[in-house]
Each structure stands twice: as C-alpha cells, then as structure tokens.
C-alpha cells in the first residue's frame, strides 16, 4: 500500500460520529471517516446499510436530519450548511438516481454552477462550451446533450455519464460517487472510469459508494470500508473488496 504524504493545504473531509435520520428513523448511527486529497476510498455494504443515506447527508439533502456528529471540509464546518454551501466548499455528489429537471439546459446549468463555485475565474462562454463538448465526447455522449434539459429523457446510463461530466467540469475537491457503476454497460463503465482516473490528482479525494466491486476493477481504492447498520464496521485495503466479492457480507456480520 502506498501512503500518500499529504500537505496541510490539501483537501480533507472529516466525518465524525455522524448520526442522521429520515422520517424519525435513525439510519446513520455514528459514522467516522476521513477522506484526503489524493486518496480513493471505497464504501461498501449490503442493501439498507445506509450507504446512499451517507451520500445524501453529506450533500445536505433536506429530507435527512443530522442528529449528531459533524462534517468538516478543510476545517470548514458543514454540518448544518445548505447544499450550495457544501458545493461551494468543494464537495460533489454524483447521485445514485439523478433527477431530471425539465427545461433547464445542461450547458446553462453548468455555466451558472461554475460561476458560483469558481467566482474568481472568468472563462469565456465559447471556451466553457468547448470544455463541455470535449468531455461529453470523452464519456461517449453526443454534443447535442449540451442543449438538452438536465437528465430529461436520458437513460440511466446517460445520467451516470452526465454526473461524471459535471464532476470534471465543476472541479470539486472531494467527490462522492454513489453507485456510479449501476446502469452502465462494460464499455460505458470503462469510459467513466477513465474520466475518473483522469480527474484524480493529489488535490482530489474520492469516496466511492458501491454495492458490488465492479467499478473497483477499473479504479483502485487504497481504502475499503464496510458500512453495516449505519456504522462502519470494518476498514481494510483492496483485498477486503475482493473478499466480499467472493464471500459476501455474512462473514462480517458474524465477526
């Protein structure tokens, strides 16, 4: 295992004893996890363990209530912040089921978002459009997606590709990918994984939430965590993911 030496200025997401509930039912029961720039973490776990809840809670989805603990990014307290404040702090969530927003064009949406996230940068419209076109191509989508409504009429796989496109364009520091591999065929998965690898750098930390380890064949995680019943019950390396592939989760339950 290659430990990366992290300088103080690098991104760092610290999740401490995070508890959250939805409709008064506690789902997260004290999650501890730190993701730093240059690190790739995989979060695995059986259905209903609270994996997607963690993604949504990190992003500040209003349907979830944080009942305890904290979320910090680069020392900035995000626990009770709005989704936009979290995004502006550098957090990005690729949603498991991205919703469609009829009438809102992908290009103008990204343009507006970019200005909020990087107000100091002045990218000319034509250059910005060119960037999007370039990455559309890289994830295997046609240029016409630029002027289509966000996710409107997109297939499941197209939505996932567009999530990755958004990640690359918006340049977040900490990326949470929730089941990014679901709905993608082998070829599409390869394109998406290539984009993720291209985007990966010492400045960006990844938390890859996945049920199966399919995506992990294309992207090597350094750390693997197992979430069960709202808590991280085991931490390990890539070998842990491989063991789960062979043996499932039952052996962890019994430990």
């Amino acid at each position: 295992m290659h430990r990366v030496v992290v300088s103080e200025s690098m991104s760092e997401l610290i999740i401490k004893d995070l508890r959250a509930s939805v409709a008064d039912k506690e789902i997260l029961k004290g999650v501890n996890l730190t993701v730093k720039g240059g690190e790739i973490h995989a979060l695995m776990g059986p259905n209903g363990a609270g994996k997607s809840t963690l993604g949504n809670v990190l992003m500040g989805h209003p349907n979830y209530t944080i009942t305890g603990g904290s979320i910090k990014l680069d020392g900035k307290e995000l626990t009770n912040r709005t989704p936009e404040e979290r995004a502006r702090a550098g957090l990005f969530l690729a949603f498991q089921n991205p919703v469609s927003v009829t009438g809102v064009k992908l290009s103008s949406f990204l343009r507006t978002a970019y200005k909020q996230l990087h107000p100091e940068e002045k990218v000319p419209l034509s250059e910005f459009q060119a960037r999007i076109k370039d990455h559309l191509k890289k994830v295997g989508l046609d240029e016409e997606f630029l002027s289509r409504s966000v996710n409107d009429g997109f297939s499941g796989g197209e939505r996932k590709r567009v999530e990755i496109l958004q990640m690359v364009i918006l340049k977040p520091k900490i990326v949470v990918l929730d089941e990014i591999d679901s709905g993608l065929d082998v070829d599409a998965l390869k394109l998406v994984a290539d984009e993720i690898r291209d985007y990966y750098s010492q400045e960006v930390g990844f938390l890859i939430i996945t049920h199966y380890q399919r995506i992990l064949k294309n992207i090597d995680p350094e750390f693997v965590h197992i979430l069960m019943n709202g808590k991280i019950t085991m931490n390990g390396e890539k070998s842990l993911a491989l063991k789960i592939e062979d043996e499932g989760y039952d052996w962890i339950r019994s430990e």
Binding site: M59, P62, F95, V99, T102, V104, Y114, S126, Q129, S147
Partner: protein, 482 residues
Amino acid sequence: MEVELSKDEQIEKLLEDLRTSNIKKDDWEFHDADRSIYSTGIGLNRQVVEEISEIKKEPDWMRRFRLKALEIFLKKPVPTWGPDLSGIDWDNTHYYTRPDEIKARNWEDVPDDIKNTFQKLGVPEMEQKYLAGSVAQYDSEGVYHNLKKVWEDKGVVFMDLDSALKQHPDLVKNYFCKAVPATDNKFAALNAAVWSGGSFLYVPKGVQIDMPLQTYFRMNGEATGQFEHTIVVADEGSKVHYIEGCTAPRYNTDSLHSAIVEIYVQKNAQARYTSVQNWSKSVYNMPTKRAWVEENAQMEWVGGSLGSKVTMLYPSSYLRGPYASTHNLNISLAGPGTVKDTGAKAIHLAPHTSSRIVAKSISIEDGKAIYRGLLRMNKGAINSKSHVQCDALLINDESTSFTYPHDEIYEPTATFGHEATVGRIGTEELTYLRSRGLSEEEASSMIVLGFMDDVMKEIPMEFAVEMNRLVKLEMSKMGAVG
C-alpha cells in the same frame, strides 16, 4: 476567439450581461412627467366620443360607428363570470389623452422626453437591428412610425390606425370591427367607441416579409385608458410576423387597457402575432383579440403576459376555410396580487381545420392563474382536429391555478384531446441544482425559466431576454421559495 453562437448561446450571453449589470428595480415602471396637452377629462358620455372624433377629423361613418358602439357599451353589463372587475373606476378614467401634435417618421423628430422613454425600453435599437418597421404609441396616440422602403415599395402599409384611416380609408373600412364587432363584449364596445391609435398593417398578395414588424405601446398617464385598435391583414399567399410590446408605469390609481386586435389571414397566407406585455400592477388588461383564418391559411398566436392587476385575454381563431390552422402558444405569469384569466378560443367552421393550443402559467405567492378556453367544432368541420395542453407551475403554497376548458363538438368525425399538468417546484429538483452550487433562488428561477422555455424559443431574442429578466425579478422579490 469569437465564434458563431447559436440562438441559445446568444440568449445565455445576453442573460449573463444582464446578471452582471445588477438590475434591481422595475426599470419599466418609471414614469415621465404628465405631458398630455389634451385630455377629454374623466368619465364617458356622448360628448366625449364626439370630441374624440372631432379631434381626429374622422369620416362621418366612423363618428356614427363610435356613437353606436357607445350605446352598446352603456347597455352591456360588466361581465361577472370571471375575475372581480368591480375595481374599474369607469367614472374616473380618462378615455382620451393626447401627448402632442406629433407624427414622426424619424426618431430625431420625436420630442426628447418621449424619445427617451422609448430609448429606455430599447425600442429604437430593436428597430435598427432586426425589424422591418415599427410604430410607437404614447398614451392614446401613435407618435412614430417607420417602414423600411423595400416593403413600402411592395405595397405594404404599416402605420398607426388613425393615419391609415386618413390615407387608406377604404382599406380600413373594409376590415374595421368585422372580426370583432362592437356587440361582442362590453370591452370591445368600449374600444369601438373611444379607440385611438393602434396599428394598421396590410401585406399585399404574395408578399412575404422576412423580418418582423413591431408596435410598442406605452401607457404613461395615471388613471388613463388605453384603447388601441390594431388590424393586420395578410392578403392571399403572404407571410408576416407582427410583434407588440406593451408597458405602463405603476400608479396608485388603476388604469384600464382595452384593446382590439383583428387579424385577417387570407387564403394560403401565414400570420404570426407575438405580444409581450408587462403591465404594471395597477392595470386592468382586457383586450379582445381575434383572427379570421381562411382556406389553407395559418395563424400563430404567441404571447407572454406579465404583470397587471387583472388580465382577461383569450386570443381566438375562427377557422373559416378548409385546411385552415391555428397555433396558440401563451405563457402567463401571475405574480403576487395578480389574477391572470387567460386562454384561447378555436372555432372550427370548415373541414380539415386544425388547432393546437399550449397554455402555460406560473403562479407566485398569492398569484392566481386561470386557463379558460373554448373549443367549438361545428357540424361539417369534418376530420378537423384540436389539441389543448395546459401546464401550470405553482411556486408557493398559497399559489393557485384553475383550468376551465369548454368544448362544444358538433361534428362526429372531429377529434380533440386535452392535457393538463400542475407542477410545483419540487425538493428533489431544487436539491439537485443546489448541490451544484446554485442558491435556492437561482435554482427556482432556472426551473421557472426552463418551464417557459418552449415559449421563449418562439419569441424574438430581445423579448425572450426581457421575459427572463422580469421572471428573475419576480423571483428575487419573493425571497424564500417553497
């Protein structure tokens, strides 16, 4: 690097410029000092009508027509089947207000303060950039009209109706109040009695005008009625796009706008009528708009209706010849305190006629948007078809929307369909946009603008930008959404 931008990109760019220019107030709600040099005073009676006719030195038939219409107006009750109109102060309204004795054909000749008003509204720039001709009306009178020479040479007539009545009396008489008779409704009768200004546009046989023609109406005086009367004639095989923009400043006393628009689309002709109205919130907006569509002719109504206290607007198409068609696309924004009672009428009188109506509405705070439509398919309108789609978007919990479609189908081979949707700005959509850094306000205005997008695509860019700006303004005024 300068690259060719698509229309979408151009709109985006303009919007960006607008965002950075930091517009805070309702720019169009400014008002000039009262510069009317003559008004018939408040209230309406026979003498006022005689006076208007006298000032205009009209032919006698028009004077008699006005007086007859006045009688009809006085007899007809105020309609009670729709929004509350009890706030119209008939006795304290000025029915005729004239700014100055001017009829300019050149912006330089328009008095400075009036010219400034239109400049603030961007009218002269638009004319220069993309119009085939324009007319500007200030209170009751047209103050400016111009038509590019190439179209004048082809026999196109475009001027305010008063000038047309003098210069082309027979042509005007042929069409005046034919599609909309004075007996149609109380407000039509009122217009017929006291009309002043409005446009007259005649496009001769086979002439196809590729640039739009535009009229801009500005209502400046307080407690004033504006009663313009517009006639568009697209003669056989011609093609024309006519645009209207209307604004008025905000006053404490309510004003009344009651226009008539008559459009005659002759055999094989195509006409498009676009109107973008941003009335201020003290205006009762009660126009009657109607088109007669003949054999194989096409009529398109495109409308964006913003502001006003109450609006009742139902552009109608009478499909009089076989294969005549109409397409009606309208968006209404019912802001706080506004009632928008809007819709469309399609009357199928001949075989193989078709109509398509798309009505969208947005209600903000206690704004109330109503779709009211009439679809009639007469016996003999064989194989005719119609489709009506109403989409409503509600922004706040107290926002409301109602749909009252009325169908009268007398022809068994006719087919028709209705679709209606009501949406709210949903948490999931908002959260998704916000998770990418957009504020709640930004996210909701993006959703609203997205909802309007298919209308935006159909209206000229400058108007689309203006609509966008106004919607953003409404959204930003309301603060928290949801």
